[in-house]
Symmetry: C2
Subunit: 482 residues, 2 copies
């Protein structure tokens, strides 16, 4: 018999799932890159400029020295006692590696750990959360994961029973959420962020969408909030967060707080507050609200995407539900230990008085201040382009400009059976090598068009990007202006 | 409103999923360990002996030096050029680290990679598969994953549409399969391995179970084969593998080959053959059969469980189905880079003439020959116990002895509402500190009772385990003998 698995006989949930961040435009970019390698004169540019994904080190950002020193020593502890090691590594990285190894049963960095992660590392993380928030954190509430994505999947798997279960998600959203909801067979209940006011999250909008979902027979189980926002870059005001907590409390919803950009805030007037801190400051404890906070080593100033470290802090669930979350974690045994160690490091970096402190601070602040400058330069550049408006990136790593496409361009896109924003991004890529992700991958108000652009290309490349983009955009508008 | 998520309102598939390897007995063991730490005289033993899980480094097995040297250098490449590094690391580990860094775009070990894993590392793995099998392997068929578990989940997610889709699984089986099938809402179609003949996989049994499933309205989509076997330790004969391939070909089934123990074969009369090699040697190519092979860095002689590295080699699917597998890989962005590097290393260890070759071989053979001795010692010990029979561990890391429990013991277990094998294992743990997993977690012929015991405790501890087990077993039989 011929092999039986065809695209018509695979799980339709897999077919429905979309993931634009690595979708069509990126596949085209990879193809162009290969063509350029084979034939450098094939295109009017020599380099693909990947602005599609929050992957800082792929664009030349350096890793933080202290973190990598500790990881190397934990990978090969045999050198800890050697005299040459003193010359190669900072004194506090050696001390930290020893401390971490002491926290690992049998000092075995090659063993599966407790399904939630190594207890000693969870102690470190819980202490860091306490210091950050001023409220207690319990290491038993920490589930360490291979980046934030598996943690999100785990919660969706727990909560979604059928397409009658809904998850409130921002539009625009990071497509991990729509993909995970599709894979688990649930319904995405959209709520729109208000672009006109800088992507504000209005609780009135949450209420409206919740009512509409209910009237369609959907049981809404959870609210996803991404703060700082992806792809929108806004940082929520504390009063706004309180209203969101109150809404979840009133409706009995799980608050799924994507807080992976907690270290990425670029404007002095805004500050990151964890939802747990906000809820606790309102007097809401364990019994009042289900709250899950996601954190990752991939973002922040460290940008260690390839290490796949992260955790979720899970509070407010009964012991019996917790047992099932533990079981889900157990089925994959544990997250990778290198990522676990790194998660403890980013939550507990060198402190005043440590040998590495000054160099660490210089590295950290160098990255964060450069990101802030890049965000501003790109925002200003977008706002100078005909028909484009762009909100400020208060935080995170992205701009999500709106483009008022001429009717002629929309028609040209329709003629090639392409969404207009994809049409623009594809032309941009083919003519300049710049990779943006079309707004349709994140969701947008119907009839509006956007794209997502990371602020991550190295600072010296930004002027060239601005020039190429500006020239392209002029040509595009000259071709299609109504 | 009170929080709404209770055990009655979570996904019933999550509730149905079981994972015995980290189940009740292990939770009890962790509790005893804490009690002993607090009060060493609490139990008649000072140490919990974890024989429940294939986690060698947690029991003192050392990591392979060369692999860890390369990982440390890739974590902190800044030291590659320093003179002290020459004194601390072997020359070929430095060379290999440089080569691997050259394979990584931008030498960025902290960047997300291609969703399938770094292309250069997949080239290395494909070349190693070719050398192993004598048939071509394509790096584009390799999907690198955080251990084998996520790869298995990915295939189940792809194939299972509803409870009407069935997956043929061995009984006994490794509970990852039953857990994953339950989580994805499919039906496990059991086929029994024949204990009397050393856990032989009879194709007549496959045919019988397939027919029965069909007559129950189940569409069987895939066959899981674990070779070498877990928990059963058998190594399939090549002729048997050919018959299995023929069966999958005839029925159009996906052959899901769990080959994570490919380096763990302990008897001279058996040899590991990959299913891909067997299929290709029969003349079956890409168009003839769907074939997926799972490999992991957690097993073999390296036992690097905590690194969560692995891959699957996916062949025989159309380009359109492959696109959906790629999309599933993309949703989690990529597997951890440390695990990716390690997967390339275990598939391409030092070669004759390399500086580390001799020490590497000594480490490798030391571990493998010790494992073979431990397997034999434990097998012999089990076979000496009243009412216990134990097949040979030809490969993998486990023994799965059968225990003919006295009726009185079965009755005593029923009185406390406990499966008889769990009853035995719980008593064993409480009286000796030895942790076995009850056979019911893996599946067994109804009315028979087993447990799984790893062969991993350090060799010097084996005599004490045998003594404690023997003493306990005598007492148990004296108490319950009919």
């Amino acid at each position: 018999m011929a092999p039986q698995v065809t695209v018509d006989s695979i799980n339709p949930k897999v077919i429905e799932c979309q993931y634009a961040v690595r979708g069509e435009i990126v596949i085209l970019a990879q193809k162009l890159q290969q063509e350029i390698q084979a034939k450098p004169e094939a295109y009017p540019f020599q380099e693909i400029l990947y602005c599609n994904i929050g992957n800082p080190q792929s664009l030349g950002q350096k890793s933080i020295t202290f973190f990598r020193e500790v990881l190397a020593l934990c990978d090969h502890p045999a050198i800890l006692a050697k005299s040459e090691t003193q010359a190669l590594f900072s004194a506090d990285s050696i001390e930290r590696a020893r401390k971490i190894l002491d926290q690992i049963p049998g000092r075995a960095t090659g063993a599966y750990s407790h399904s939630q992660g190594i207890k000693g590392l969870r102690d470190t993380i819980a202490a860091a959360i306490e210091a950050r928030d001023g409220f207690p954190a319990d290491p038993n509430d920490i589930f360490m994961t291979d980046g934030a994505s598996p943690a999100v999947h785990m919660m969706m798997q727990l909560l979604i029973r059928s397409e009658k279960d809904g998850i409130l998600c921002p539009i625009p959203q990071y497509p991990l959420y729509s993909a995970s909801i599709a894979l688990h067979g649930g319904s995405l209940v959209p709520y729109y962020l208000d672009e006109a006011t800088g992507w504000v999250l209005e609780v009135s909008e949450l209420k409206k969408q919740l009512q509409e979902a209910k009237s369609n027979g959907i049981t809404v189980r959870a609210l996803v909030v991404i703060n700082p926002g992806n792809p929108t870059g806004q940082v929520l005001a504390e009063e706004n967060q309180k209203a969101i907590v109150e809404f979840c409390k009133e409706e009995g919803l799980v608050l799924l707080a994507d807080e992976v950009y907690q270290e990425n805030v670029y404007v002095p007037e805004k500050k990151f507050h964890s939802f747990k801190k906000v809820a606790r400051s309102m007097g809401y404890g364990e019994k009042d609200i289900h709250l899950v906070s996601f954190q990752s080593v991939s973002k922040g100033y460290y940008g260690e995407c390839g290490k796949r470290g992260g955790y979720m802090e899970v509070t407010g669930f009964g012991a019996d539900v917790r047992e099932h979350i533990y079981k889900l974690a157990s089925v994959n045994l544990c997250s990778n230990i290198t990522g676990q160690i790194l998660a403890s490091l980013v939550m507990s970096p060198p402190k005043v008085g440590d040998k590495s402190y000054e160099s660490y601070i210089a590295e950290r602040d160098g990255i964060l201040s450069s990101l802030a400058r890049r965000a501003k330069t790109l925002e200003d550049a977008f706002n100078k382009l005909e028909g484009i408006t762009c909100n400020k990136a208060e935080g995170a790593m992205y701009l999500f400009p709106r483009i008022n496409l001429p009717k002629k361009a929309i028609k040209a896109a329709e003629e090639v059976k392409t969404a207009p924003d994809l049409f623009y991004c594809r032309r941009l890529l083919n003519e300049t090598g710049i990779v943006f992700v079309p707004g349709s991958g994140f969701g947008q108000v119907p009839g509006t068009w956007h794209f997502r652009c990371t602020i991550l290309p190295q600072e010296e490349k930004i002027p060239a990007i601005v020039t190429r983009l500006t020239d392209f955009h002029k040509r595009f508008m000259d071709e299609f202006r109504d």
